[in-house]
Each structure stands twice: as structure tokens, then as C-alpha cells.
């Protein structure tokens, strides 16, 4: 510990603390712009200069470490003069447009000028002003307001392992922005908004909506993936206008899905009344009638004829409520694995994101981690920035493929085989890895890397890796496709898989379905089966926020609450609980899943206990050694295509998130550079994709890292039923120009 004095106040701090940290502890304000607790110290803005006894020059408090006995002054004429000078310099070319700047109220330049600036400026020359730039759907850049603190650029370097956002040229001509594209939507774009201390980068979703100081902040939880990041929502008059990450829960940064996703709460097309089917329409007949209708209908079915299909992002309370409801009526069937996963949760022995960021060697397998667990991908990139060696073996991971140190890209159908062969120690030429590549991977495995396994890998592969990791003392994180897996497995809300459940519906042995918030047409890769099953379902209750392809088959529609409209707990991939508070009042009939089930249960004469006393997640135990199932590809053609929902469509309640959808306006087909060349295709061309029957129009994106003969095709678009022509995620296809 070091004892130092700041403006006469003695304070004791860690030896490696900076003067700025010490000043905070002493309760002394030192102004700064470029400093950020989660970025490396840069010392660029020179706003935090202080005087230290014995040092001839003023020194930046943000980067200067304390020394025992150090005497610091922040209140001398020299410091005052320097502060006034720096602020005057920062404002020379600033448009002073606070009255309509969205940052006003939370602008560090505004606050610091008010506290430490001169009353007038001596600047009489012409201001150099720049036009507003809209970089795609999410961010607006006002160069004139930019103070070049480079927080945004430093974030992209230190955490994102680089992106199409940087600083160009130099001196006063330094310019920040994109280079390759006119737009930037690179999974973590929102952090650029959040990290900007001034009004240079602001959110388009928030543009000109409300003033910052009129917002009240409500703590909630993002439900888009198994990290369940804690967010704060800016509320005014019972409406959410903003999201903000709050520090370190689980990490300091979030992804665009969380930041822009709250939009669904306010969406004009959101349904807030319980509806009943009358002919071809769902209509509002009053809550009482709806409840009567549902209970009467349920009375017609035997318990084994009823099943639940569960969404991702399920809360502990909802899962418990569903369990109790099922037990009340002897219902046995429920399934959360709508992505056709054949596995249950194996969990992880990693406790935090920090552990990932500190890892020296990381082996990332399968995919698409950056799409399904964005912040884990970001943390892996952070580790790359800190010098970790990250090896990726996958067929597709849009974000990580461009950024890892070593990439082994293979065909989608080879993924499981290749991973299996690596961990069972036997090279196999059919895995798509050359002997030499296999040996390099094997050598890397000897460094005992942390293993991160993505959601595409099947059960046999998971079991083998966990077994290997435990025996060899490796850290592992086994990621599931559904973020509900921990709670659903713990409460036994699974049966034999979504395909077998849908087969039962199709065959008529399951007659009544509760579909909770899932659009099956979008999420189940076997779209043919969904169509057949829903076509023959006898009775269906759909709960959700929006009308969609699946809701079209519903007899009843029950409106749900979302985010801060209900209090709930979530369990993240590290097994930790996060809590979302209820901060918005409900407007009409929207309720949580468990509240609806309680109403129904009580209507049917059985009490439903909603209190959760304790929650401890359970995991699958590894037993035996199964071989991975062979993947049989349907269709015919020269190309092997992987169908995945793209990042900017892969979330709950897609219908209500127009801002996010703007970043994925049309279906894209990723083509390797080899195939693009031999077919004469370039970025932006359109092709038609033939899956043996119907064909679909796709826009080409040439992706340098892809393997020859592999295509990666977007799904999940309204009016683009590519799923319905498929029975799995991977298929043989043809393309035509």
C-alpha cells in the first residue's frame, strides 16, 4: 500500500494504483476524457494533468502510478490554466450544439466545460465543421463533436480484435470511421456509442427521442443468450428508450442484440390482449372467454396428448411454473431444444468471462459461438488482444474466423468428425483435416488450452470432450444452442427431441400444444416437419408478443411480458443467477408464462405454486463413449450448404426488433473466394440457390476464409421459407447465377 496526499487529503491505495484512482478514493474530482476503467491507459486527452511535488512537468493522473509519500495537487494555478487550455482547445471546432445533441446531460465535455472551462473562447477563426455521417442502422457519427480520445478505436483494438472502424490520417486531420463499408454492424457496435464520452457517436435508435435527464433507470436482464447480461433500461412514462450496459455483469461489454433488442417492448405491432380464433382470425373476445375456452379445450385431452414447446431465455420462475403446471395435470412432454439439438447441458468448469480473457491458449471448436454467445466471442478476442493463442476449428463463425491466430476451416458435415478424431487421438482422412493440420491441432491440445465448444456439436462430441477435459485437467465451456438449457434440464422440461415431438404431433398422438414464444418455422431446421405437424395439430395455445408463422396455427394467443415488465431470475452459462426487476407497469392483459399457467390451472381447479425457494442447476453426467452420428445430407448438388440464422436475426421476438433487422435486410449467401472466382461471382451479386425443388434468391458475400465447396446461407427471413425445404441444417445444394 502507498500513502499519498492529494490536495492535502491523505489517502492509502494499492501500490499499482494511479493518481486518478487515488483521487477518486480521496473524493477529489479529476476531469478526464480518454481514460476508461476497462481500456488500457492512453494519456491522450491531457485533461487529467496534475502537479506532483518534485516533478518539473504536470503529469497525467490517469497513467501515473502513485509512489509512497507522493504529494499531488489538483488545485494549483498551473493545473487550472492547463485544464482551461485543454478545454478551450477541445472546443475550438466544436459546434456547441448541445440543445439538440443526444448526448447532452451525459456528455463529459459539457460537464467538464461547465466545471473547469473558461467562460469565453478566444477563438475568432473559422470552425471546421463536418457533415453528419450515418454508419448503417445503429450509429451516427458527428465528426465535429469528436474530441479524438480514441476510446472507440481502442475498444475495437483491445476487445474486438479489430473491425472496420479506425482512425485515419493524422494531426488535426485525423478522422475516425469505417474504411471498407459505408455501414458498421459488427456485433458489438453498440459499445462504440456507450464508450464515446461526448456526442460524437450516438445511437440511431435513441436519436432525438428523449432528453437524458428525463430517464429513470431500471435494472433488467437481456435474454438473448446464455450470458444473461445485466442491463439498465432508460424509462420514461412507462416506456423504454435506451439500454446501457452496467459494469461487470458478467462483463463490461454487451452486444447489439441486447442493446437494441428492447425495442420489441414498445413495438406498435405488439399484441397486448388475449385472443381467440374465430374463423381465420384471432380476435379479442375478452379475457374470461379466452380462459374458459382454453380450459374447456384442455379438458378434452389426456395428459399424454398435451405437450409444451419452450423458448430460449426461460426464467427460473417460468421453468418452475411450467413444471408445476405439468405436474398438476400429469403432463409429461415438454421440449426446449427447438434447434434440433440432440444433447442436454454438460455445463462448464469455467467460472467467469475473466477466466477466458486471462487464458493463454484457447481452442474454439464448432460454431457459431459469436452468433449464439456474442460476449464469449468478444472475450476470446480480448484474450487475443492480450496475446493469447486462439485456435479455431470450425466450418463457420463469421466473427471469429477473421480474427483468430490460427484457423482450421472445414466442411460443416466434417465438424463433428474432425473434433471427435482430435479428442480420440485418431486421425481420419474423412474429417477434412490433413495429417499435418491434425498434428498441429494435436500439438496445440498438448498445451492444455481452454476448450470452448459451440452449439453445433452433437452429444457424442460433447461427452468425449468433457471426459477428455476432466481426465487431463483442462478448462472447458460447453455451449448449448438454447439459453434455457440449464433451467429446462434441471426442471426436466425435455423429452426425446423436437423432431420426435413434432412427429408425434403429425401422427396425432400429441394433439394439444403450448408453444411459448417460439416461431417454430424460423427456429426448427426441419421446416418440412414443422409444416406437417402444425398442419395436423388439434389444439394450440401460443404465447408471445407478436403474431408470426407459428401463431397463425394457434387457437388462442396469450400476450407475454418481456424484460423489465416482470421480475425474474436467469441462470447463465457459468451457473450464476442474475435478476431482472419489474419496473414497467403492464398496460393491458400481458402476463408472464407462469402467470398465464396459474390462471389456467386455477380455472381448472388446481392451485399453482409460483414461489421458487431454491435453484441449483443440474448437468448431464458423462457416461460411456458414443460415436457421433453420421450426418446424412439431403438434396443434391456440388455444394454443401450450412443454413444458419444470421446474427442480426437470431433473437427472440424478431418481429419487434426492426432496428436490428435493418442490419440484415436480405438473405446472404457466403461463398468461398475459390468458388466465387470459378463462378465469376463478386460481392453484391444475386444467385439462386436450388435445394432440390424450390429455389431461393440470395445476395453473395465472398468470404475469404471459407473452404472451397461450402456455402453458408442465411435463414430466418419473413416470406422466405427456405427452412421448409430442408430437413436439417446442412444440405447439398446447387447455385445458379
Amino acid at each position: 500500500m502507498a500513502r499519498i496526499t492529494i490536495d492535502g487529503i491523505a489517502v492509502e491505495v494499492r501500490d499499482d494504483a494511479t493518481i486518478l484512482e487515488a483521487a477518486r478514493k480521496a473524493g477529489i474530482d479529476i476531469p478526464y476524457f480518454c481514460y476508461h476503467p476497462y481500456l488500457k491507459p492512453a494519456g491522450l486527452c491531457r485533461m487529467c494533468l496534475v502537479e506532483v511535488e518534485g516533478m518539473p512537468k504536470l503529469t497525467p493522473a490517469c497513467v501515473t502510478q502513485v509512489r509512497d509519500g507522493m504529494v499531488v495537487r489538483t488545485d494549483t494555478p498551473r493545473v487550472k490554466k492547463a485544464r482551461e487550455g485543454i478545454i478551450e482547445f477541445q472546443l475550438l471546432h466544436h459546434p456547441l450544439d448541445c440543445p439538440y445533441c443526444d448526448q447532452a446531460g451525459e456528455c463529459m465535455l459539457q460537464d467538464i466545460t461547465y466545471r473547469y472551462g473558461r467562460a469565453t473562447s478566444r477563438f475568432v477563426d473559422e470552425k471546421e465543421l463536418f457533415p453528419t455521417k450515418f454508419y448503417g442502422p445503429f450509429i451516427v457519427y458527428e465528426q465535429s463533436r469528436c474530441i479524438l480520445c480514441k476510446r472507440c478505436v481502442r475498444f475495437t483494438h483491445e476487445y474486438m480484435a479489430g473491425t472496420d472502424w479506425n482512425v485515419y490520417f493524422r494531426a488535426a486531420h485525423s478522422l475516425i470511421g469505417t474504411y471498407e463499408n459505408k455501414e458498421i454492424a459488427d456485433y458489438f457496435t453498440c459499445n462504440l456509442v456507450e464508450i464515446c464520452p461526448v456526442g460524437a457517436i450516438t445511437s440511431r435508435l435513441y436519436r432525438y427521442k428523449v432528453r437524458y435527464w428525463t430517464l429513470e433507470w431500471a435494472r433488467g436482464v437481456c435474454r438473448e443468450c446464455g450470458l444473461f447480461c445485466s442491463l439498465d433500461y432508460g424509462i420514461r412514462e412507462n416506456k423504454a428508450y435506451r439500454a446501457k450496459h452496467n459494469v461487470n455483469s458478467p462483463g463490461p461489454w454487451i452486444c447489439d442484440k441486447g442493446y437494441f433488442g428492447f425495442e420489441c417492448m414498445n413495438h406498435p405491432e405488439r399484441i397486448k390482449f388475449a385472443l381467440e380464433r374465430r374463423e381465420n382470425k384471432l380476435v379479442n373476445v375478452g379475457l374470461e372467454k379466452v380462459l374458459n375456452g382454453i380450459t374447456q379445450a384442455l379438458g378434452r385431452y389426456k395428459p399424454e396428448e398435451v405437450a409444451f414447446i419452450l423458448p430460449s431465455g426461460l426464467s427460473v420462475e417460468d421453468a418452475a411454473g411450467i413444471r408445476n403446471f405439468m405436474d398438476n395435470f400429469g403432463i409429461k412432454k415438454a421440449e426446449y431444444r427447438v434447434g434440433m439439438e440432440d444433447y442436454l447441458p454438460f455445463g462448464s468448469n469455467v467460472d467467469s468471462l475473466e477466466e477466458i480473457s486471462e487464458a493463454r491458449n484457447i481452442l474454439v471448436l464448432s460454431g457459431d459461438i459469436s452468433n449464439s454467445y456474442p460476449v464469449i466471442a468478444l472475450t476470446i478476442c480480448e484474450a487475443i488482444g492480450k496475446g493469447a493463442n486462439v485456435v479455431l476449428l470450425t466450418s463457420w463463425d463469421y466473427y471469429l474466423m477473421k480474427r483468430v491466430n490460427n484457423l482450421f476451416c472445414i466442411k460443416p458435415s466434417c465438424e463433428d468428425g474432425a473434433i471427435y478424431s482430435l479428442f480420440s487421438g485418431k486421425w481420419d482422412e474423412f474429417t477434412g483435416l490433413s495429417r499435418e493440420e491434425y498434428e498441429r491441432l494435436e500439438a496445440f491440445l498438448q498445451t492444455k488450452p481452454m476448450i470452448v465448444l459451440g452449439p453445433r456439436a452433437q452429444e457424442a462430441v460433447r461427452a468425449l470432450i468433457v471426459d477428455y477435459a476432466i481426465k487431463n485437467g483442462l478448462k472447458y465451456i460447453i455451449l448449448d444452442r438454447s439459453s434455457s438449457s440449464y433451467v429446462a434440464y434441471t426442471y426436466g422440461l425435455f423429452c426425446k427431441g423436437i423432431d420426435s415431438l413434432l412427429e408425434e404431433v403429425k401422427a396425432g398422438s400429441v394433439k394439444a400444444l403450448f408453444v411459448l414464444g417460439v416461431d417454430l418455422f424460423r427456429e426448427v431446421p426441419n421446416g418440412k416437419l414443422v409444416r406437417d405437424a402444425l398442419g395436423s395439430v388439434d389444439f394450440m395455445v401460443y404465447m408471445g408478443l407478436f403474431f408470426n408463422g407459428t401463431a397463425r396455427y394457434a387457437d388462442y394467443f396469450l400476450p407475454l411480458t418481456e424484460l423489465v415488465e416482470e421480475e425474474a431470475h436467469f441462470v447463465n452459462v457459468f451457473g450464476k443467477l442474475t435478476k431482472s426487476k419489474k419496473s414497467l407497469a403492464r398496460e393491458y392483459e400481458e402476463r408472464s408464462i407462469r402467470e398465464w399457467l396459474k390462471l389456467i390451472s386455477e380455472k381448472m381447479g388446481k392451485k399453482l405454486d409460483l414461489e421458487v425457494r431454491e435453484f441449483k442447476p443440474k448437468f448431464v453426467l458423462v457416461e460411456g463413449n458414443k460415436k457421433p452420428k453420421d450426418i446424412v445430407l439431403s438434396g443434391s448438388g456440388d455444394f454443401e450448404a450450412l443454413f444458419e440464422i444470421p446474427f442480426y436475426r437470431n433473437f427472440r421476438y424478431m418481429e419487434g426488433k426492426s432496428k436490428l433487422l435493418e442490419a440484415s435486410p436480405e438473405p446472404v449467401l457466403n461463398v468461398s473466394i475459390y468458388d466465387a472466382r470459378s463462378l465469376g461471382l463478386s460481392n453484391g451479386d444475386y444467385v439462386s440457390l436450388d435445394i432440390g425443388g424450390p429455389s431461393f434468391k440470395y445476395k453473395i458475400r465472398v468470404f475469404d476464409e471459407l473452404v472451397k465447396g461450402v456455402l453458408v446461407a442465411d435463414t430466418g427471413f419473413e416470406g422466405f421459407p427456405v427452412n421448409e425445404a430442408l430437413n436439417n441444417r446442412i444440405a447439398k445444394v446447387k447455385i445458379k447465377k
Partner: protein
């Protein structure tokens, strides 16, 4: 007292850049001596004793700098700073083009002294010819077994790589140079950590100027004491002076430190040209404050004497201005240079140099106001010592000295409202 040619001893010989010519004059014997007869620490000790100070401009004692290299297992690197960009300076170019082997020998000895096996010569991009000369000299020396895995058969490995810059004055600052060498933007880094502990690739690194390194062989050959016997109390040895401007015989002259300025100006460079009168002198490269004709009277060319007159010896680049010179234009031109070369990282330098130019632009156009001069002078309190690297201070050198010493000329320009461009 006239020229004393130590570093420039070979430059006029025909084929002076060739190994054969260099060896005939005893070349690489000093390297042999260091490798076979001296321990690395002994070389450092001699250099400390010699009193040699960095010739790039800052004048930091070279031996002391070397002494900062920690004893670690990390690889150590030596970088020769050949990014000669300080306006008025053209001395290193002479060594590079005319006596490259002297530089290589100096680098090899110095690398050995600090325990480096790899050295880089960071040469400014414009000196493409110089880079080619160095490349072929390295090839010659490697082929002759002087450099390479087994330097002169000593078992010591010395590899020298030429790295071309690409047009950025700020890369002459050693941490910016290191970033540039790593393939990044030439942004100066925060110090601490200093390069001697964490430099290129986060390893201990010593950055020395061409002239500094080229002086080392003589120290090894004749001893630190001998070198220290040349010069004054605090300024030891010889120094190259590049003299330019309104002068009859501009060029590079080597003098023992402490030589009267008059010798350089009048005896060697032939005095002010066209029979005009001396008006001002920038004594050590454009960043050093300018001195008036009166102020340089009786000046001697050494660190302490020039400092006592309120300027610096700097890189030894003397720019001579006669009485036809418009100081307003000189200050304006130099301000534009610094505004162009600021890396743009830190606020005071980026915004200060830009505003400086905006105000001076106006004055030069004849639209200046008297208050402008006080605003400009006030830049000192905002910028001096407050920037991330020395470039901001450098920009103040000509500005503050120009306005203070030639204020009447600025006032006359403002009053006249004349457009000078």
C-alpha cells in the same frame, strides 16, 4: 581551430562506401577489438567515460542510456535512428551515403555492448538511396563474415535490418519510431515504460542516432578518456553541424564541441551570402528557439553555452537567416510544419498546432489582430510540457522565440495589413 574530422575522415575518399576502402583505413578493427578483447560491460564503461551524448537532439548521455538495459532473458534490440527529419538537419545522410560501414561498425559494437543480436536501422523513407547503400553494405559485411551468425569469428551473432519509414517526422521520436517499426501508426508511446525496459516487441530496446553510433568505434579504438579529452566540460568529442540558409558554403562540418560559432559561420561556411547582414540563427534544428544576431555573438558550439543563451544545440542544424528574411513568414512556415507532422494523439499538440496555423495564416494574409500575439504567446502555458511527446514543445520553439524577439516585425505586419502570400 577548424574542422576536426573523425566521423568524416573517410567521406571524401573515392568509393568510400565500399567495404574494401573502409577496411584499408582500419575498418572493423574496432569491432574486432570489442568482440575479442572487451566484455560488453567494458564497452558500456568506455562509452560512459567518453561523455558521449545523443546526437539526435536530446543530448542524453549514451552510456547512461545503455546502462538502463535490464539484465533479463528477453531478447534485446538496438535501433539506429536514421529518421533524420528535423528541418535543417542533413548530417546523418552524409555518413549513411558516404561511410555506411562506419555506421555498421558502430551498430555492431553497440549491439554487442547491450547484448542485442538484432539491430534495425530505421531510415526515413525519402532516403531510398541511403537505404540501398546500407543494404549493400550489410550484404558486403555479411559476405565477409563481419556481420551475421558468427561476427568476425567471435561466435557473436549480429543481424542488421534496414527498415524504411514512410514520411512522418514524429517517427524520429524514439517511441513513435518503435511503433512504426512494429508496423503501426507512428504514435509516440507513454513513458514510462521507457524503451530501455520495454521497447520494440515489449523487449528492452536502445534507440541511438546515426551520429551517436558512428562515434562509438572511435571511443573503442582510442578509449573513453581520449574522447572525453576533446571538447568542453559537459560537451565531449566532435559533432557534425549541418549549416544551411543564407550562407556562402552550406554543408556538413565536423567540429570539436566548444568551437566558436564564428569559426563555423565565417571561416568554414564563408559567412552570410550576398554581403548581407546576419539577422537570426536557429542553432540546433527548427525546434530550437531562434537567436538574434546579437545573441549569437561570442557563442561557442556546445550544449551548455547555447543553453545559456536560451536555445539548444539540438541536432546541430544551424539555419542562418540574413536581414532580408521575414521572420513572420519563417514562424508561419514552421508552424505549418508542426501542424502537418503532429501525430494527432494528444489534445494540446493536435489542436494547438492547428490553431497556431489558423492565427498565423490570418496574420500573414494581413488580417491579424494585435491580441493574436498574446494568444499565441499564451500557447506556452497550455502546451509546454503538457503534451504526450516533445513535438508540442518543439512547435513552441520557433513560435515563442520568433514573436518575443521580433515582436515589432509581427506588429508591423498586423498594422500594415499586407498579404504576404
Amino acid at each position: 581551430m577548424g574542422e576536426y574530422r573523425l566521423l568524416l575522415a573517410n567521406v571524401d575518399k573515392p568509393g568510400s562506401h565500399k567495404l574494401e576502402v573502409y577496411r584499408k583505413a582500419g575498418g572493423y578493427e574496432r569491432l574486432r577489438k570489442a568482440l575479442f578483447e572487451m566484455k560488453p560491460d567494458e564497452v558500456v564503461e568506455e562509452v560512459k567515460k567518453s561523455g558521449l551524448r545523443g546526437r539526435g537532439g536530446a543530448g542524453f548521455p549514451t552510456g547512461v542510456k545503455w546502462g538502463f538495459v535490464p539484465k533479463t532473458d528477453l531478447p534485446k534490440y538496438l535501433i539506429c535512428n536514421a529518421d533524420e527529419g528535423e528541418p535543417g538537419t542533413f548530417k546523418d545522410r552524409v555518413i549513411i551515403e558516404k561511410d555506411p560501414h562506419l555506421l555498421l561498425e558502430g551498430i555492431a559494437i553497440s549491439a554487442y555492448a547491450i547484448g542485442a543480436h538484432e539491430a534495425f536501422i530505421y531510415i526515413r523513407g525519402e532516403y531510398e538511396y541511403g537505404a540501398r547503400i546500407l543494404e549493400s553494405a550489410i550484404r558486403e559485411a555479411e559476405e565477409a563474415g563481419i556481420l551475421g551468425d558468427n561476427a568476425l569469428g567471435s561466435g557473436y551473432r549480429i543481424k542488421i535490418v534496414v527498415h524504411r519509414g514512410a514520411g512522418a517526422y514524429v517517427c524520429g521520436e524514439e517511441t513513435a519510431l518503435i511503433n512504426s517499426l512494429e508496423g503501426r501508426r507512428g504514435h509516440p508511446r507513454l513513458r514510462p515504460p521507457f524503451p530501455a525496459s520495454k521497447g520494440v516487441y515489449q523487449c528492452p530496446t536502445i534507440v541511438n542516432n546515426v551520429e551517436t553510433l558512428a562515434s562509438v568505434p572511435f571511443i573503442v579504438e582510442k578509449g573513453g578518456d581520449w574522447y572525453a579529452s576533446l571538447g568542453t566540460e559537459k560537451s565531449k568529442g566532435t559533432k557534425l553541424f549541418s549549416i544551411s540558409g543564407h550562407i556562402k558554403r552550406p554543408g556538413v562540418y565536423e567540429l570539436i564541441l566548444g568551437t566558436p560559432f564564428d569559426v563555423l559561420l565565417n571561416e568554414l561556411a564563408g559567412g552570410v551570402r550576398d554581403g548581407r547582414k546576419l539577422k537570426a540563427v536557429i542553432p540546433g534544428g527548427s525546434s530550437t528557439p531562434m537567436l538574434t544576431a546579437e545573441e549569437v555573438e561570442g557563442m561557442t558550439l556546445d550544449y551548455e553555452n547555447i543553453q545559456a543563451r536560451g536555445s539548444q544545440l539540438g541536432s546541430g542544424a544551424v539555419i542562418v537567416m540574413d536581414d532580408s528574411t521575414n521572420i513572420v513568414k519563417v514562424v508561419w512556415r514552421l508552424a505549418k510544419f508542426y501542424a502537418h507532422e503532429s501525430c494527432g494523439q494528444c489534445t494540446p499538440c493536435r489542436e494547438g498546432t492547428r490553431w497556431m496555423v489558423q492565427i498565423l495564416d490570418r496574420i500573414v494574409r494581413g488580417e491579424g489582430r494585435m491580441e493574436d500575439l498574446d494568444v499565441l504567446l499564451d500557447f506556452e502555458s497550455i502546451m509546454a510540457g503538457n503534451c504526450l511527446c516533445p513535438l508540442g514543445d518543439a512547435a513552441l520553439g520557433p513560435l515563442i522565440s520568433g514573436i518575443t524577439k521580433f515582436r515589432s516585425e509581427f506588429e508591423a505586419q498586423i498594422k500594415s495589413g499586407r498579404c504576404l502570400v
